[in-house]
Symmetry: C2
Subunit: 454 residues, 2 copies
């Protein structure tokens, strides 16, 4: 049998894991600097925890787990009768009652609902775990991928938004990815809906605006007309989307449009606060982008999106403020704000920009060639000493031809090899070769640890 | 709705995640020192990759994933007819063709079978990922748990065994867990079967011996008799299990019993090699334990088991040599040897022994109290400076009563708080309080970074 892996999933070899871990650990370190705490939830949730939270389309993409024992009669090699038989008299709950998590937000909400009385409030958590979606696999879209989220819940303070912007800025500076951090406010969009046909148009308007990047203004206008807005309303939306200039100029124009609209003015005030208080020391200040809508309906205040400059790819981060995280689970009045990092895309951007530090992928520093039993005994001893000093090294597993041992070092990109034959053993030295430069030198055993392995 | 999590699964809060990560990163660092490379495989495998690899009992414990789209008619709220309908005309493959991985060995074998031509050989990989089993949950047994494996494949050399013993010793020394590393050899057990009724008794004998710890020698003897061995054979096995003394003494007695038995002598030779070549510098030398059998049938040479001293718990690590990793996937002749760390049990042992370094669970070092807008602006600025120097700090989100802000610091075990009111703002200082000692001091803004935060 020639094995395969499921469509839409990936194996990650050493270099990829190391580069991905570099991204994860960079993000994690910054989360920790801001007082966020780690959380891990199980891969499986009860089906009822997940169902109905992601819209009808989302529900379809949830991977359900077959209840255990069910398939014994229907297992590989047997036919449909077995399965039909076991479903007799059973409700759907007897078939499946667990599912793989679809995102990290609902499991987080479930966790907060279960534990809010013990948690420090505001509760600042980060979570970096895989999620699963039964999407049709295509380039850049996988059925298993990591999400990487930070949320503060139990606080309405805009200080949180400020800190999340700083987190984005700090992470991408550390990763050497030049970005734009765009912000907008759902209250401004709600006000736009107010003056263009009433609050019930809010979802139509945000969904249409959200597509602006992809389909352009003309198609957005068509869509808005199609969704029942009239020409005048569409005109208002177009002039809103055309607002340009600096952050300050945009805010000025907004004040004119939304004069007297309470929600709009509140949104403008929140945007102004973030612009005014973003520390000048951070590398990327937020830019107001009034065309930013974010698809998710639960956002109620600030929304964020991060784009990499100079790389053609969608957003590499996003998030926003929501009023009610846990109401669905019977615990009302827990507002919050969160951001997310798109690790797969960040990986692609960093690969394209070639900004991974070279040391990230380095593994073994030194390979001792295997030249016989007595020599290997000494090599093992030296290797132990080097390892105790934090230098990764290996002893080749068998006394094979030089060529084969060389190839192993090459294939693993090991930068140094040590030849320790009977002559060297007697002299108490190794012949050390730098495979990149080709230079070779004798080093006495005792000096190996202090050699410059960089 | 009051939410719950699936039986047998766990949420891990901040302290637990940090302690677990300390174990993982310690193990990982040692794997890397020995030239092992990381691998990550997807949570899902094709069902046919997994089925038939874990015995009939194992197959039943594999979590199968419902094919997508299947449940639309049978989803929550609807009844069995929906499900029965969709199974009409379908084979079991139409119901489920993917499953959650049950261990890391089969996915590794599948990966090696798919990629062996590109991999450096011997291929040394480590993998630390969760696995899922539909076991009945009970104390210490979960349906989702991490495995943490290192394997070398493509080599028959005993150097690998030596290094794996060193890895065990180094890891547990670093974790401050006192252990016994027990070794045995399946060839010795095969020889025992040879002289007690023939090779076909091998599995009966190892299964019975494997229970010695739990049920005692008398029950083992009963079981052997029940499995068709005669009194004389059981007597031979008992005297084998009674062999005692130092490693050398055990080897001497084995040589007498297995004189002339080729397989037995080969096993003895392998054990001797490991005993003779284990470096004296490693903290825990391997102990020969002839009662060690390990349940898995695919082991063919050295077998390992690690037990914590002074803690009543099963083994915290184990592994062994196998002849053929990938034969099932059409790629023969890839022998290997691997070890595994039982991270959940190691966690329990370290908790009981209280050997987690205190700094492992430390998060935020300093909380700035929130005493008003101007004060907070300064606090945010100072916080940014501290973070840029790697010091984790927070600014409380709102200007609430001291008491509330104190409670937050306490609940998060934040060791220092900084009071920065209007007086302090004017004077350019903060009032810094160490919550553990109660001592308080004024520190000028510029000196905060150089304060001793340990």
């Amino acid at each position: 049998m020639k094995p395969t892996i499921p469509q839409g999933t990936r194996d990650f070899g050493a270099d990829t894991v190391r580069k991905r871990n570099y991204i994860f650990s960079t993000i994690q370190a910054v989360f920790e600097l801001y007082g966020f705490q780690p959380l891990e939830t199980p891969a499986m949730e009860n089906l009822e925890t997940l169902m109905g939270k992601y819209g009808e389309e989302g529900d379809k993409l949830i991977f359900k787990i077959l209840n255990n024992g069910l398939d014994n009669e229907a297992k590989a090699g047997k036919i449909r009768e077995g399965f039909a038989k076991i479903t007799e008299g059973k409700s759907s709950k007897d078939i499946t009652e667990r599912a793989l998590r679809y995102d990290l937000t609902i499991p987080f909400a479930r966790y907060v609902a279960m534990n809010h009385q013990q948690l420090p409030m505001p509760f600042k958590r980060y979570q970096m775990q895989p999620v699963w979606r039964a999407d049709r696999p295509q380039k850049g879209r996988y059925r298993e991928f990591y999400q990487c989220d930070a949320d503060v819940v139990g606080s309405k303070s805009l200080l949180n938004e400020l800190e999340l912007v700083n987190i984005y800025a700090t992470v991408f500076q550390k990763l050497k990815v030049d970005v734009e951090i765009r912000i907008n406010n759902r209250k401004v969009l709600a006000a736009l809906a107010d003056i263009c046909g009433g609050a019930e148009k809010m979802i139509d308007i945000t969904i249409a605006i959200d597509k602006l990047d992809k389909i352009g203004i003309e198609k957005v206008k068509e869509e808005l007309l199609g969704r029942g807005l009239n020409e005048a309303q569409v005109q208002t939306i177009e002039s809103f989307l055309n607002i340009s200039g600096s952050n300050e100029e945009k805010l000025q124009q907004l004040k004119t449009i939304f004069a007297g609209n309470e929600t709009g003015l509140k949104g403008i005030e929140e945007l102004m606060y973030l612009i005014a208080h973003s520390p000048l020391t951070i590398p990327y200040s937020p830019l107001i982008d009034l065309t930013l809508a974010r698809g998710l309906n639960y956002y109620t205040g600030t929304i964020f999106e991060v784009k990499a400059k100079g790389v053609q790819i969608g957003s590499i981060g996003g998030g926003g403020r929501y009023d009610d995280l846990t109401g669905l689970f019977g615990v009302p009045n827990i507002p919050g704000v969160g951001i997310s990092f798109g690790v797969d895309r960040i990986y692609d951007v960093m690969s394209e920009l070639d900004v991974f530090p070279t040391e990230v992928v380095s593994g073994t520093k030194l390979l001792f060639f295997n030249l016989g039993e007595a020599e290997v005994a000494k090599a093992m001893e030296l290797a132990q000493t080097l390892r105790s000093q934090g230098i990764a090294c290996e002893v080749f597993h068998e006394n094979s031809k030089f060529d084969k041992q060389f190839k192993y070092a090459e294939k693993k990109s090991i930068p140094f090899i040590a030849v320790l034959g009977s002559k060297e053993l007697e002299a108490g030295v190794v012949n050390l070769k730098n495979l990149a430069t080709g230079t070779q030198q004798q080093v006495v055993f005792e000096n190996l640890v202090d050699f410059n392995w960089q």
